[in-house]
């Protein structure tokens, strides 16, 4: 059966808006995705009928909100195939999740230790570890990226040793679209008892995520990159690690008992959820993941791959274009540069034609620098993009290049 893209597009109110008098072509899904009506309605429904503080009052609404909130945790745990529901910690997003782990790992990292990341990391999975290393006089070791946009696995393997206290790697590169062989890396790291954190920001909406199959120790993702609301995200952690880690922030739900001289902290997952949680957006995130599940993530992956293949073949015909990131296993991310043309100029002209793309260094300055360029133009596709949008984009691109050269 053909992928029902036209039917799905109807779920996204923003897709029928116009930009500069042209129909919106939204190709900036790597930055954030648009929201289906189901998600928007869930937020409204929550505030209209359920809003209350969770885990507290004995009253009806509080119970209702708590049941919904914990139901969302349960659903999300199943969605990523976590062993236990309490291994799902709600955060503000991927960056917040990674900062939680890097901050708590201050207790486990000491002078002379090492942390491994890769050269393709987003600043959010780079700076927290860099700062941890600086404060502990530990070493940040960086897996190089090969010319096609894949990780140098040989070097990565040689970097493993008992001195390494954490390996933090992206599942999918936000600039290159490369799907990293994280399962293989995790298995290798575990031979040295190295815990592995996977930055899943770019993966959750595009490929199946099964934390038990990967056997990762931590997995971080954001709701807003998976058709859910902004401001909510997940940190999955194996309970053995989450129990070992000290609390991150103090106050609110993470407390069990307080005496004036000491405090007994709550059990998982509440130990890591200080303050009133973002209930509405967590429920929206649940609805978004449910939406993806209903369509089928493997069908989405197949469809987006079709968009990518079509776009790639059309792009290769445009003179002067160089694709950045040509790994065999990649998601629907097309980063490119055009000889003699600044990405910002192209982005500005495409915007005039109603097309939203990202230009610049994509919050991955070390990677962009290592590629010897001053930024790229990135078109990243989502489940609602179409073949005709791809064709309009390439035609518009040619028009813009002709204007600029």
């Amino acid at each position: 059966m053909a992928f029902p893209v036209n039917q799905l597009r109807n779920d996204f109110p923003i897709l029928s808006t116009q930009v500069h008098g042209k129909p919106l072509v939204y190709f900036d899904n790597g930055a954030t995705t648009q929201k289906p009506r189901q998600v928007i309605n869930r937020l409204v429904e929550y505030y209209e009928t359920e809003n209350s503080n969770v885990h507290r009052g004995a009253h009806h609404l509080s119970n209702l909100a708590t049941v919904s909130f914990e139901g969302a945790r349960n659903f999300i745990a199943q969605y990523i195939n976590a062993l236990k529901t309490e291994e799902v910690i709600f955060t503000r997003g991927t960056t917040d999740s990674i900062n939680l782990v890097s901050t708590c790992f201050q207790s486990f990292v000491h002078q002379g230790d090492e942390i491994i990341i890769s050269e393709m990391e987003h600043h959010s999975n780079l700076v927290p570890w860099q700062q941890l290393c600086l404060s502990k006089k530990a070493r940040l070791s960086v897996i190089p990226v090969l010319e096609d946009g894949t990780l140098d696995m040989e070097t990565a393997t040689q970097m493993l040793s008992p001195k390494v206290k954490m390996m933090a790697i992206s599942h999918i590169s936000n600039v290159l679209g490369t799907i990293n062989p994280v399962k293989e890396l995790i298995a290798k790291a575990h031979k040295y008892s190295i815990p592995v954190l996977i930055d899943g920001a770019q993966a959750i909406a595009h490929i199946p995520v099964d934390v038990r199959d990967l056997d990762c120790d931590f997995y971080a993702f954001s709701s807003h990159k998976a058709y859910g609301p902004m401001g909510a995200g997940v940190l999955y952690g194996k309970s053995v690690w989450l129990n070992k880690m000290p609390p991150y922030q103090f106050g609110g739900e993470m407390i069990d008992q307080v005496f004036l001289n000491e405090t007994v902290f709550n059990r998982l997952p509440y130990k890591f959820e200080a303050g009133t949680p973002n209930v509405a957006d967590v429920l929206g995130m649940e609805t978004a993941l449910h939406y993806l599940e209903t369509i089928g993530i493997d069908k989405i992956q197949k469809y987006e791959d079709k968009l990518l293949k079509h776009a790639t073949s059309l792009m290769l015909e445009v003179p002067g274009i160089k694709l950045i990131g040509t790994a065999k296993h990649k998601t629907a991310v097309l980063s490119f540069v055009v000889e003699g043309v600044h990405p910002y100029d192209l982005g500005t002209l495409l915007d005039q034609m109603g097309i939203a793309v990202r230009t610049g260094n994509h919050c991955a300055q070390p990677l962009v620098e290592s590629l010897g360029i001053n930024g790229t133009i990135r078109a990243s596709f989502g489940l609602y993009n179409t073949i005709s949008e791809v064709e309009y984009f390439v035609a518009s691109l040619k028009k813009a290049i002709a204007m600029l050269l």
């Binding site: 600044h342 990405p343 910002y344 100029d345 500005t348 230009t359 260094n361 001053n374 600029l404």
Partner: protein, 142 residues
């Protein structure tokens, strides 16, 4: 010509364009024609900070008036800075500080004024005004 008169001239030029393509083609043309800044001024000191495209802006005083030169690695940005320079160069610091920038809205460039366009008009204007203020302070001290 006063700043207001040059600005009005630019507005009238832009009214001739029916569609965005002509407008941007004109900006690109202006960008390509922008007199090249002396390479000694293309340093980090003259860089207007931002991450999308780089803009260098230099100012010097000639007989009580400020002369601006600039460059950018993006040609549309160059076109925009070229417009500003055409209107504001060769005026006294006082005239520049009193300039009314609302003409930018009439030529449909206000979107470049949004705070997220870190290298857009907003930071260029701010830099131009900083130069004017600095030259004014200097001349008051003499």
């Amino acid at each position: 010509m006063t700043i207001n008169e040059s600005a009005q001239g630019v507005v009238e030029e832009f009214w001739m364009f029916d569609d965005w393509m002509d407008k941007y083609a004109y900006l690109i043309e202006l960008g390509k024609d922008l007199p090249v800044i002396d390479s000694q001024f293309k340093t980090n000191n003259h860089l207007i900070s931002g991450c999308q495209s780089r803009v260098w802006l230099h100012a010097e005083e000639q007989e009580g008036q400020i002369v601006f030169t600039a460059d950018s690695d993006a040609v549309i940005t160059k076109g925009i800075v070229s417009l500003l320079i055409r209107i504001l160069s060769n005026h006294t610091p006082q005239e520049i500080l009193e300039a009314d920038f609302s003409f930018l809205e009439s030529i449909g460039l206000q979107e470049h004024l949004s705070p997220t366009r870190a290298n857009g008009l907003a930071s260029m204007i701010k830099q131009i005004q900083l130069y004017a203020r600095a030259f004014q302070l200097k001349s008051n001290q003499l």
